[in-house]
């Protein structure tokens, strides 16, 4: 039993992939899946999958594999996705609107509860059931209930928004702009710049 070993960061990054694959399998009414079976949905080899899962406990049944439903529950618990994660979105432009309307975040436990913008013509309008608020009121978000934020504003304003979010108690930021964000060490920033994601692809051709 290796539960008390330090879990590699790379393992944590892969856990949501396993969750995604398992959710898909559940939808297909698959009850059990072996590490080999799973490997066909995540581009990782079976020992890697087993080792990753084993950092958190022995969830498998030897000779049979992993039971899908309980494993989903376990991973959700491990990643703290079993409790609703209230999330705020800043920037209700094209990308922000697409995200606000996207139902997929729910599946991972993320619930977008507030949307902010600074454009007069946007403030007050609704996206789905959520009314867009003035970004000047960002400091009003309740420090203890919202820990996660998504930034989808122009890159020039991203830093000041990040500063405001940190001050309001947000601890994790998904930054969709091309700006580099300087934040205190305790705050985690995940930057996804779609143009940059493409950047490494041509090298390998």
């Amino acid at each position: 039993m290796m539960r008390y070993h330090k879990v590699p960061e790379e393992t944590i990054k892969r856990m949501p992939q396993y969750l995604r694959a398992l959710l898909f399998l559940r939808q297909q009414s698959t009850k059990y899946i072996t590490s080999r079976g799973l490997s066909e949905y995540v581009l990782l080899n079976p020992p890697q999958i087993r080792k990753d899962l084993s950092y958190f406990g022995a969830f498998g049944l030897r000779g049979t594999g992993y039971e899908v439903e309980p494993l989903i529950k376990q991973i959700r618990r491990i990643l703290k996705l079993d409790v609703e994660q209230k999330t705020v979105l800043v920037g209700a432009g094209r990308l922000g609107s697409a995200i606000a309307r996207f139902p997929g975040f729910q599946r991972y436990g993320f619930n977008i509860t507030d949307i902010y913008d600074n454009a007069g013509k946007r403030i007050g309008k609704k996206i789905g059931k959520i009314q867009i608020k003035d970004v000047a009121k960002l400091n009003k978000i309740k420090a203890n209930s919202v820990k996660i934020a998504i930034i989808a504003t122009p890159p020039e304003t991203a830093q000041q928004i990040a500063d405001a979010l940190v001050k309001a108690g947000v601890t994790s930021i998904l930054n969709l702009t091309s700006a580099y964000l300087a934040v205190p060490k305790k705050v985690r920033v995940r930057t996804v710049d779609l143009a940059m994601e493409l950047g490494m692809l041509p090298y390998y051709t």
Copy 2:
């Protein structure tokens, strides 16, 4: 001189980050930047940056740092972003439309030349200057000129679209759906599922 060593994949992933930082610095009219200076824009330490760059040659000036403009050119050349990379987009929904209108891809040399959808009401309409084509005509893309594709359709159809793209000669795919794509080894897929990117954040809180 270590130019003929194998370049770590991790290094390749970081190169677009350097490029992004350098483009920002150029915009600020910065002419020279040291590895320490750069480190303030990419969350990596100076030796890492120097080592990464040194895999491709000695671009720096001892005592001074790196000249911004030439280094941009070098990285573009290394990543093959100095030639226009024709790109097709499949799926002109909310996310697809946002991407099609987003000017940031140009900066990295990506030029979206074709957009496809399967919805009758969308086909024929224009996004910017590009007319949306019927996805049934995907096989018409010229194998030799388009190597990169972006998939922004519902996840259920992603695999069949990937198959069609591969058949048409595409070698790199940016997959924005939550579907796992099975493709031949020579084809590179980069999946960015925004919901999943969020998935690992709560763990560290």
